[in-house]
């Protein structure tokens, strides 16, 4: 029985909580070797398990430095650092000819994002963004209703992505320097990605955002905890996203996401994390989610593209460009950055064309 050569997948940092999810998904994928490094884990101000200890708990090979990680000559790297540290690692991966799956948001500034996309393009490496929600089966149905014309002409979208304060697991999510902001950074881009997919990559025209710091005020954060973002697209489509960290800490779940699209023939709404059996126990609410593992679908897409593309060749695009790609990452990052600026100016911001 012939065995395909194992793909070597590096995991750069456990800063993002999704890193652990990726490790557990990859453990179930045949013909994949995984190695991780989390050099900043020891500096984290929170008490979450990080570094070699977390690697041991997850059962994944571990090295102490990114130098050792890249010296292993991985085929692909999953960048799960704090947001502001994405750029350095993605540029390094591009230099070393390693395909990239980058956590969202792509970066904390559009300037960083543009540099990253350019570096990957020049190196011929895949740059895919970890937006798992577009892999939700319900979203495929929504797209089909739109593409087939059953929804009619889509004229308005409403998204919500409300979660608990992410600080419970990782403090950097509420650190302006490392995260780039608060709720506007954490939770606008997932819905923006879905809209990007529905519109075939339409760039936003104007972005208006209102934000405040009333939720979790006692935590004394310097980032926004509540936000409402309205985006206008060329052709008139409007979309509003509630990105607030408004899901109560007493809930049995982290939060959720909904997206409603309204067209001239009706509307479709998805809630990819809503499928569950509910109950009550002595300790409160029971929530048995049975939705599809979206990270598994996201990784399958990425790994397929990495296998098919093979070794990158500088100056040549990879054989397969898996979606969502760096351009999607940039367009959604533009919305995030404009939202931050608008919230500060208290006026809508037009995107540069």
């Amino acid at each position: 029985m012939s065995r395909k050569a194992a793909l070597k997948v590096a995991i750069a940092s456990f800063a993002h909580t999704h890193a652990a999810s990726y490790v557990s998904v990859l453990a179930r994928v045949p013909d994949v070797d995984v190695r991780a490094s989390d050099p900043h884990g020891a500096d984290a101000p929170d008490s979450a398990l990080r570094g070699a200890e977390l690697a041991e708990r997850l059962g994944v090979d571990y090295v102490d430095t990114y130098d050792e990680l890249f010296a292993w000559e991985p085929d692909a790297v999953i960048v799960a650092t704090e947001n502001s540290r994405h750029r350095a690692l993605v540029e390094r991966a591009a230099r070393e000819g390693v395909h990239v799956l980058c956590e969202k948001p792509l970066a904390t500034t559009v300037a960083d994002g543009e540099a990253m996309v350019e570096a990957c393009r020049a190196a011929g490496v895949i740059l895919m963004i970890a937006y798992p929600v577009r892999f939700a089966p319900g979203f495929a149905v929504m797209r089909d209703h739109l593409d087939s014309g059953r929804l009619g002409e889509m004229f308005a979208i409403n998204g919500t992505n409300n979660g608990k304060l992410p600080r419970e697991h990782r403090e950097w999510f509420t650190d302006r320097q490392l995260a780039g902001g608060g709720a506007l950074v954490d939770h606008v881009v997932h819905c923006a990605d879905l809209i990007d997919a529905l519109t075939g990559g339409l760039r936003a025209e104007t972005v208006n955002a209102a934000s405040n710091q009333i939720l979790h005020a006692k935590a004394g954060l310097d980032v926004e905890t509540g936000g409402l973002v309205t985006v206008r697209y060329p052709g008139g489509l409007i979309a509003t996203i509630d990105c607030s960290w408004s899901h109560p800490s007493t809930s049995a779940t982290w939060g959720g996401l909904t997206l409603q699209a309204t067209g001239t023939k009706g509307s479709v709404e998805i809630a990819p994390f809503a499928e569950h059996v509910s109950g009550l126990g002595d300790d409160g609410e029971i929530f048995l989610g049975f939705g599809t593992d979206l990270n598994a679908l996201l990784l399958a897409e990425f790994l397929d593209a990495v296998r098919t593309s093979g070794r990158p060749v500088a100056g040549q695009p990879p054989r397969v460009t898996p979606q969502p790609d760096g351009d999607v990452g940039l367009r959604t990052l533009e919305i995030m950055e404009a939202a931050l600026r608008s919230a500060e100016l208290r006026q809508p911001v037009a995107l540069e064309r």
Binding site: N212, I214, G236, I238, H247, T264, S267, R346, P348
Partner: protein, 351 residues
């Protein structure tokens, strides 16, 4: 000012003569008003350019042929005509010294609303806008809980409302007559947001597709973002959707000590699946399980007219809701956030 007694007011039940209401208008919403007034034991005169006879026969009303006769004979006036006529009818009722119930929106523009508000106050006439959502059970429950501090300080709220478009070849499509989707439909939730989240500081609005040459698209959504005194922010969404879209409303109000959610499609307490049954098609928030909020509303207004306490919604609330709606249109036109402290209701152009 007359203080007629209405039946149901037990202290004066013996000597009670029915309250005489002049119902101006005989369109869709007149039916729920007519049946509520009859339920309250009122005598109803109906004056309308069209449909008065049919309405009178259905609900046992008396048709009157002139506005003058309606105003002369009535104790109070209930204006349920298309919005564009509210101002003139309200002025006529104020001049006749009659108390007024006026369907929302109070008038079509901030300037007119201010004018009617001032005229009523000067004449000592009560004018109450029929913001029925303030009398609708889930909204009342949420408002009370917020006021009582159940979810702490309000941070982020969302309100939505929508259904099958009424604007397919009707007067709703004429922005000069109906005021458009924000003035006609969203105004309910502009009032709710202000009622539950506090006075409004800024208004930002978008509409898709846009209103062109005064014609509101048949299928349209408007999104408004408000910032409130005290720091809360709210998002309000209204949709005139595809024909046949069920009418739904809902809200989500997040505070620093909890959240409240309501969706009219989830919390009905009554689910039917009866094949062949037809829906009424009327876009009003009624429930088979409790008293109509229109009845609650008109009872409270009637009691206020006869010396009872001030109702939960007053002329100022009606006028401010119109200011907010007009500020939203101003935001759509300018593409800017409108500061309500700088909003000039006298100068702002009509929607």
């Amino acid at each position: 000012m007359q203080t007629p007694t209405i039946p149901g007011n037990e202290t004066a039940a013996e000597s009670a003569r029915p309250l005489v209401v002049a119902l101006l208008g005989a369109g869709a919403i007149s039916r729920v008003h007519a049946s509520a007034w009859k339920e309250l034991g009122a005598e109803v005169l109906v004056y309308s350019a069209a449909g008065a006879q049919e309405l009178a026969e259905q609900y046992g009303l008396e048709v009157v042929d002139t506005l003058q006769e309606a105003l002369r004979r009535a104790d109070c006036v209930d204006i349920v005509t298309p919005t564009g006529t509210h101002r003139a009818l309200a002025r006529a009722a104020i001049d006749a010294g009659k108390n007024i119930v006026c369907e929302k929106p109070l008038t079509l523009s901030a300037r007119e609303s201010r004018e009617v508000y001032d005229a009523a106050r000067e004449a000592g006439v009560h004018i109450y806008p029929a913001h029925v959502v303030r009398f609708t059970a889930p909204y009342v429950a949420a408002h009370r809980a917020v006021v009582a501090g159940r979810i702490g300080k309000v941070a982020v709220a969302r309100f939505f409302r929508g259904g099958s478009s009424p604007a397919v070849g009707t007067w709703f499509q004429d922005e000069a007559a109906s005021g458009g989707i924000i003035m006609d439909l969203m105004i309910h939730d502009l009032d709710q947001a202000r009622w539950t989240c506090g006075e409004v500081e800024t208004v930002y609005a978008v509409q898709s597709p846009p209103t062109l040459d005064n014609v509101v698209p048949s299928f349209v959504s408007a999104h408004v973002t408000l910032t409130h005194v005290g720091g809360a922010i709210s998002h309000i969404r209204a949709t005139w959707g595809a024909v046949g879209t069920p009418f739904t409303t809902g809200f989500s109000i997040a505070g620093d000590a909890g959240v409240l959610h309501y969706d009219s499609t989830d919390s009905t307490g009554l689910t039917t699946s009866l094949h062949g049954a037809e829906s009424s098609g009327l876009v009003v928030p009624t429930s088979a399980l409790r008293e109509s909020p229109y009845l609650t509303e008109l009872r409270e207004f009637a009691e206020a007219f006869t010396g009872g306490p001030e109702p939960r919604v007053n002329a100022e609330d009606g006028a401010v809701a119109v200011y907010l709606a007009q500020a939203a249109y101003q935001s759509i036109i300018t593409g800017r956030v409108v500061d309500m402290n700088e909003f000039d209701h006298a100068q702002a152009a009509a929607a």
